[in-house]
């Protein structure tokens, strides 16, 4: 296939782009790809994340939509596209649909399969409660009632918190 830009060299870079909601295929030779700024997508740092977000941004029709801020930190999608950085963990839910394609491009996947905090959280919580219980028993045994009262309060508040969630 011949490069679509110079129509001379053999195209070595083939990619799909979404422009105005339509998938378009692009075939370029390495020189044209570089001069058109596609080289960055394959560079080791950043993978052109912000450039890609900027494309998504430009395809967002209304200016109002771009200016909607994240409810927790107030960062807008426009600002995120500018520096490639999210303002808080809630930004991910606030701009989920817009950000997912870039994340997919960055990692090649959008499904986490690694460590899950809830498992370790619950296990550690359980361990911690156990240790509180045994320290409480020891304190009562030693008639250290001041210490026992503190431990018992902490235990109560943790158990209450666990129950309400």
């Amino acid at each position: 296939m011949i490069c679509q830009s110079c129509n001379k060299n053999e195209a070595c870079m083939h990619m799909k782009r979404i422009i105005n909601g339509k998938a378009t295929e692009v075939h370029l030779c390495s020189d044209c790809a570089r001069s058109l700024g596609y080289g960055e997508a394959y560079s080791v740092s950043g993978f052109g994340f912000t450039n890609f977000l900027r494309d998504v941004l430009l395809n967002t029709e209304s200016v109002e939509l771009r200016a909607v801020p994240c409810p927790v930190c107030g960062k807008t999608f426009e600002e995120i596209a500018e520096d490639g950085k999210l303002g808080c963990s809630e930004c991910y839910s606030a701009f989920y649909d817009k950000i997912i394609p870039s994340i997919n491009r960055l990692h090649g996947k959008v499904k986490h399969i690694g460590k899950n905090p809830s498992a370790s959280e619950l296990q550690s919580q359980e361990n911690y409660l156990d240790s509180l219980r045994s320290r409480l028993a020891a304190a009562v045994n030693e008639q250290n009632y001041q210490e026992a009262a503190i431990l018992s309060d902490e235990l109560d508040s943790l158990l209450k918190k666990g129950g309400s969630e």
Binding site: K85, L86, G87, C88, I103, G114, N127, Y128
Partner: protein
């Protein structure tokens, strides 16, 4: 724990210098540090500090960065205990660190929590086990921002998923001399890994030291990322050994090593980059057995000879030539020992 790391690693010590695991975590519902006011950052510092006090087996010292001098902060970065980014601005940032400096936790760097475990030699599994313990310990008292699809949520989307970067520092004078590094950097990127200068970037890496790390963190388990890194590191080590065989066929290599040794042994002034270049050659000679030296102390020497760290060791600011003079003295003393 100490002796254990070195036991299984001897076979790779000619190439693999050290191992680290970095893990990023954030607290939910609180903006990332770059969007926090100073009082809010201090609040985050104190929440994490409290949580860290209860982790079994770990005793952390706590440092508010603004209480440290500029030289102390730069020296922390030279020792790879904090990132250069972390050293560049001190307000509202804090550091948790164990006495042996193998574990450090940066608070309010790009993310609320950036922990690091660093071990000598090739010890990825051991380093991950330690990092995992600290992660669980903090997580037992703090909730972390997490999404079932995106994993741990971080300021930079390139860390989403496990939030974990594993890395090894490799000494690659053979691949540098035979001009194979650039090709290697491209090749490893296809395996989701990143190879870059450990001090300085690209082919200008000082001391021929390179850091190999995983660049993909989402859609891969911690274990798989570590296994992948391990196998590529071993392949690079094999290539490095082959390259060393090749360069040692020419008498020039041995000559360069002994010239480097001579300069280090007798120089009266030596700057950081000349030192790094020469010590790399001497290390190559030492693992080859043509220069007799204990290589396990060389990495420490490379760190101690960095500009801010050497200035700190004398408790007064040194200008460039004083530093170069002190460095030359220390290196001579090291080689005489």
């Amino acid at each position: 724990m100490g002796a254990k790391w070195y036991l299984g690693t001897g076979a790779q010590n000619d190439v693999v210098i050290s191992t680290s695991i970095h893990i990023a975590r954030n607290l939910p519902q609180i903006p990332f540090p770059s969007r926090l006011s100073l009082p809010e950052k201090l609040k985050v510092d104190s929440l994490i500090k409290q949580a860290a006090e209860n982790i079994e087996d770990f005793n952390f010292n706590y440092y508010e960065m603004k209480t440290l001098s500029q030289a102390e902060v730069v020296s922390l970065a030279e020792r790879h205990l904090v990132s250069p980014e972390f050293a560049s601005s001190r307000d509202g940032r804090a550091l948790l660190m164990t006495d042996d400096e193998s574990v450090s936790v940066m608070l309010n760097e790009e993310d609320h929590i950036r922990m690091q475990v660093m071990y000598a030699g090739f010890s990825l599994d051991e380093a991950y086990r330690t990092a995992d313990k600290i992660d669980n310990g903090l997580n037992s008292r703090l909730k972390f921002a997490f999404d079932p699809n995106l994993g741990y949520l971080t300021q930079d989307p390139s860390l989403l998923g496990t939030g974990m970067k594993a890395s090894v520092v490799l000494h690659l004078p053979g691949l540098v001399t035979t001009a194979q590094i650039t090709k290697l950097i491209t090749t490893v990127s296809k395996f989701g890994l990143l190879l870059q200068g450990s001090y300085g970037e690209g082919s200008a890496a000082k001391g021929d030291l390179f850091r190999l790390s995983n660049s993909v963190t989402l859609g891969i388990t911690e274990k798989a990322a570590i296994e992948n890194l391990k196998s590529i590191a071993l392949q690079i080590a094999a290539q490095e050994r082959a390259a060393r065989e090749e360069i040692f066929r020419s008498p020039v290599t041995e000559d360069r090593i002994f010239r480097a040794y001579g300069v280090l042994r007798y120089a009266r002034l030596i700057d950081t980059s000349e030192f790094m270049e020469l010590i790399s050659l001497v290390r190559l000679g030492a693992v080859r057995g043509i220069v007799s030296m204990d290589t396990s102390r060389l990495e420490a020497l490379m760190i101690q000879m960095q500009p801010a760290t050497i200035s700190l060791s004398v408790d007064r600011p040194l200008d460039r030539s004083e530093r170069d003079k002190l460095r030359a003295e220390r290196v001579r003393a090291f080689l005489d020992a």
